[in-house]
Structure formats: C-alpha cells, structure tokens
Symmetry: C2
Subunit: 334 residues, 2 copies
C-alpha cells in the first residue's frame, strides 16, 4: 500500500496524511491519532509513523508493577522517580495486581504513544508475552526490571538471583539444616526459577536429596498462604529450614510459626529475600537476602532514558545485574 492508497482509506488528502506523519502543528492531535490508528489497523509501516509521531515527546514514562505495598517495589519506584525528576520526566504508575489481564490492558493503552518509554516487572501469571512484544514492535522503548522475561530481547535489570539462591541455601546448610523448604509465589517467574535453581544446585553439591514436596508454591493471598504453610509445618517430619524467595512469605512463615508455637531458630531456621527495614527488629531478627531495590530502579530508569534518547537498542547491554547482600541475623542461628 502506498501513501495515496493509505490517504484514500482515511478520506484525507495525501498532504494532510503526510503532514500528520511528520507531526506537523497544522494537523490536529485528533487527526494525527486517527492516522496512527489506521496505520496500525492496516499494518502500514507502523514503526516509522509511531516514531515520527513520537517526536513530540510526552515527557512521561510508565512503570508497570504487580503491587506497590511491597518494600522492593516502593524502593524501586523511589529510584526511578529520582532519575525521572533529573530528566524532567513524569512517572505514570500502573499496578497489575498480579493479574495478566490487567497487564495486557495496560500495555494496550501504553501502545498509543501516551508515554515515551515503559519499565515493567511482569505479573506472576504472565506466560504469553505477545502483549509485551506488541509494545516493543510499536516502537515503545521497553526495559524489564526484577521480574523479567527471557522471551523478549530488551534490557533487563535484575539482581544475581541464581547466586543469591546459592548463598541463602548454603547459609542454611552451614547452620545445620538438612530439610529445607523453598517457598515461592509462581512457577512462571524467571527470578523465582533462578533462585530455585540456586537452591537445587546447592543441595546437590552438598549431597542433600532433593524432595519436590519441599518446593512450595504459594499465592498472592495471605490467608491461603497461611493454610499452605500450616499444612507444611504441622507434618510429623517437618522442614528444619525455610528459604522464602519473596518477603511476604517470610512474614507469613513467622506468623504461622507463632500460631503453631514453633520456635525460630531452634525448631526451624528462616531466611528470606527482603527489603524490610524491620528485619532487624523482628522476633527473632530475620536473616535476609537484600536486593538493591533503589539501585535497580535507578539503573532501569537510566537505561530507559538512554533508549529513549538514542532511539534504539544498539549498544545497550541486555543484562545488567546488581548484587544482593546476605545479612545473617538470629532467625538462622545455630
């Protein structure tokens, strides 16, 4: 299809369509949007249009996250916001509540040029990633952080999840644990799977039998998780160590141990991924793997702005890894 045919489809003059594509101020936003929509509908050289229309920058980026009442994401947003302020950019926040349908509808909205770039941490339900592929194909700069997907070529900023999985598991083994449960929220998330791989490989290296009944998949629902963990901890032969791969599961384990009168660390030792300020004030204080949440947010935003300014992925590293730290506290003491 050439420009003439395309203009005919729109009932517009060639000149008007051409001006719309050059983002001329003579053309109303409404018409520009109509042209853009039609171009997409007809799959007519979408990218050049998008990029042309996007020359009028929105000075806005979007951050799409599963939840906000979570210290990791709150701190990451703080880092993003710091960089955005420096750049004179606005930050839109979208919460998916771990619902892939919400994630799909948010990305559809973002596809129309409302923002200059998108940072996303995918929901735990996300397996099909065509909505994210669509965003990228529409020429919207895209950066993943923390919960990334390997299926799309785009910059990804994470912590060293596999090594952190090793460190946490080794720490429990060194302190005498032989029957360690691994708690996670999803089998879809690559970060969970990397942490799990670190756990599995460490067990092997220490000649501890792997038992898939100790791999516990929890949900987003605290009450459900309590039931799952009660079942685990009421067993005759229960685990002597817990590796919570997300913060909320470490807290739920504490709550369930309190209810069942299981003593930490005497009866069971616990380590968790966590950005809680109160980790050191808990009863007992919680041993943690702490992700550099603020730095991950800053780095992801910096890379997104490089993408926006360079208008391309060339020369931008696909994987940026910022290390986590293990802090020993009383919950894993011998």
């Amino acid at each position: 299809m050439n420009l003439k045919q395309f203009a005919k489809e729109l009932n517009l003059s060639i000149s008007a369509v051409s001006k719309a594509l050059r983002d001329s101020h003579e053309i109303s936003e409404k018409t520009k949007q109509m042209v853009l929509d039609k171009a997409r509908e007809l799959n007519y050289q979408v990218n050049p249009f998008a990029s042309s229309l996007r020359k009028q920058k929105s000075k806005t980026i979007a951050v799409v996250i599963p939840e906000i009442d979570n210290n990791f994401f709150a701190l990451a947003i703080k880092g993003v916001e710091m960089i955005a302020q420096e750049k004179g950019y606005h930050v839109l926040i979208y919460l998916t509540h771990e619902d892939v349908q919400k994630e799909v509808s948010v990305t559809k909205i973002l596809q129309n040029g409302r923002v200059d770039g998108v940072m996303i941490s995918v929901s735990s339900q996300t397996t099909d990633i065509s909505h994210l592929q669509g965003l990228k194909e529409n020429g919207i700069p895209l950066v993943f952080f923390d919960r990334v997907t390997e299926k799309i070529t785009a910059p990804k900023i994470t912590t060293d999840d596999y090594n952190s999985g090793i460190k946490a598991t080794e720490h429990l083994i060194e302190n005498g644990c032989e029957k360690i449960a691994f708690l996670s929220v999803s089998e879809n998330l690559s970060i969970s799977n990397k942490r799990l791989a670190g756990y599995v490989d460490t067990l092997k290296r220490n000649k501890i039998n792997y038992d898939d009944k100790l791999i516990i998949r929890c949900s987003q629902n605290i009450e459900e998780n309590k039931k799952i963990l009660k079942k685990l901890l009421e067993k005759k032969i229960k685990p002597d160590g817990i590796f919570a791969s997300v913060e909320s599961l470490a807290l739920t384990t504490y709550e369930v141990c309190n209810e069942l009168n299981i003593k930490i660390p005497d009866d069971i030792k616990i380590i968790g991924f966590s950005n809680l300020r109160t980790a050191s004030l808990l009863s007992p204080s919680l041993s943690t793997i702490t992700q550099p949440a603020y730095e991950i947010g800053r780095e992801a935003a910096s890379i997104l702005f490089t993408l926006i300014e360079k208008s391309g992925y060339n020369g931008i590293p696909e994987n940026t890894v910022i290390k986590s730290t293990l802090t020993e506290r009383k919950s894993t003491r011998k």
Copy 2:
C-alpha cells in the same frame, strides 16, 4: 482587555483564538497551549479558558506525596489506583521528598493542564501554600489527603487525628506511664498538631504536668533521629512512655532502645501510628494506631472524580474523616 486585543497580542486571528478557547479540533494542541499560556501571562480571564481547554480530558490524575517507602502512602496509592482503574484513568506519581521546593515545582508543572485533577499530601516543610492556591485558582480540581492544610478550601480526607492522639495517650497512662514523650517530624503539619493536641489535652485531663522538653521534633533523616532519641533516652530521668506520631519514629525508638539496652515495655512503653504488617512480629510486638490508608486513598480518589465530573466544589463535603483503630500489643503492656 477584550478578545480583539488579546488576539493581537498572540498574532492570531480572533476566530483562531476563539476556536482555541472552545477547544476546537481545527486548532492544533500547540496553538491551544500557546493561547492558554498567554492568557495566564496576561491574567486574562484564566479560569474560563482553563476549563474550556480542559474539556479535552487528559484522563490522568496526579498524586503528590512526600515519600513512597512508607506503608501508609504505598497503601493509599493502592486505593487511589483501584478507583482510577475503574474510571479508566491514569495515575501520575510525584514524590516531593519532604522538600517544599520540589512541591512548588511539581504544582507549577501540573498547572498547565497535564492532569484533570490533583491529590496531595503536603510536605512537612510546607507553610506558604500559594503554589497550591495557584493550582486551585487555575481551575485544577484539588483534594488533600492525610497531610492537609486548613488554609485552602478544598476537600480533605484524614483520619481522626485528634481523637487518635487522645486514645494513644490514654492507653499509655492506663498502663502506668507518667512521663510520656511525643515524637513528630514537623511542627508545620496539621495532622501532627492535632495528634499533639490530643496528647496535651489528655495529659491535662489526667492532671499530668505538660513538659515541653518531652515534645521531640525529629527530621526525615534516620541517623539524625537516632542521635536525637539517644539524647532523650540517655537522660538520668528519662520518659517512661513514647508516643510516636509517625511510623518511622517508632522504629527508630526500637533501634535506639536495642542499642542502649533499654527494655520495652519494662523500662519504657511505646505506641506508634503505623501501617506495618510486621507490627505484630516485632520484638516486642508494637502497639499501634492504624490509619485506614487504603480507604483514605480510595475515598480521596472518589471525591476527586466527583469534583472532576461535577466541575465544582459545591455539595462536596470539605472534611471527610475515617477512623483509625488502636491495637494493643506487648510494647505497652503493664
């Protein structure tokens, strides 16, 4: 100045200016913005223009908050976002980091019609409120939540701060405290002052002498606050009760007590405003006044959308109060 003179100032035809003011699709966004800016510059009947131009809704609201790594604000945003999603609106988040200069520059940006409405929780430095007055005068619907200012007539959504101050102080007195310190972050914030008034009136009613050396003003800086609290708790005659009017100060008190080996609740009892999930898991568990953060966010957003839809403050209550709850735990036990 009449329309003719105004059009001349802009080097535009009367018809073009008139169309711009009617938000006609024949006029480019750039020109409309230029007309709006000039109208403001010349103070030429700004409000009708603003409202006219705003008929083309941005479908975006802004939430301006002092910080995000705070459970209250994270939960409030969750509430805001839930309502915004229902309405098909986008949510911009701006952090002021308790810096009034940042608050001023954010409100200036928001004045130009980027959003259909603004929700704000003011910074602890904010005393002069002319920037917020300016936002309102420019016809941007404005709602305050939690940290409100009495100096502007606009909807305000808070918890029952005065009564919560009474409840917390009474609880400490009932459990034997006679020398209660009140910790806050700012003397500018109306919510701090209401909590303080509840504290002062309760002391009076219980015939306990008011001692202004026990009114402790802290900062945003954790290390500074530790120094301030160490000074307080290393005194020969130290308080036997602490009322932390913000969450982070309750945690700093715990940290300092741990360092100084002061036993909670035997040597000192502590109650704090807090939305921490871990309050019940702390050593010892923390007695709290819990604000309905999520509900406050939802309610503030609902009222903002009513304002946007009705285009006016008539019939909208100025003060909406949602009650906090006191939860007794070990930190105040006799």
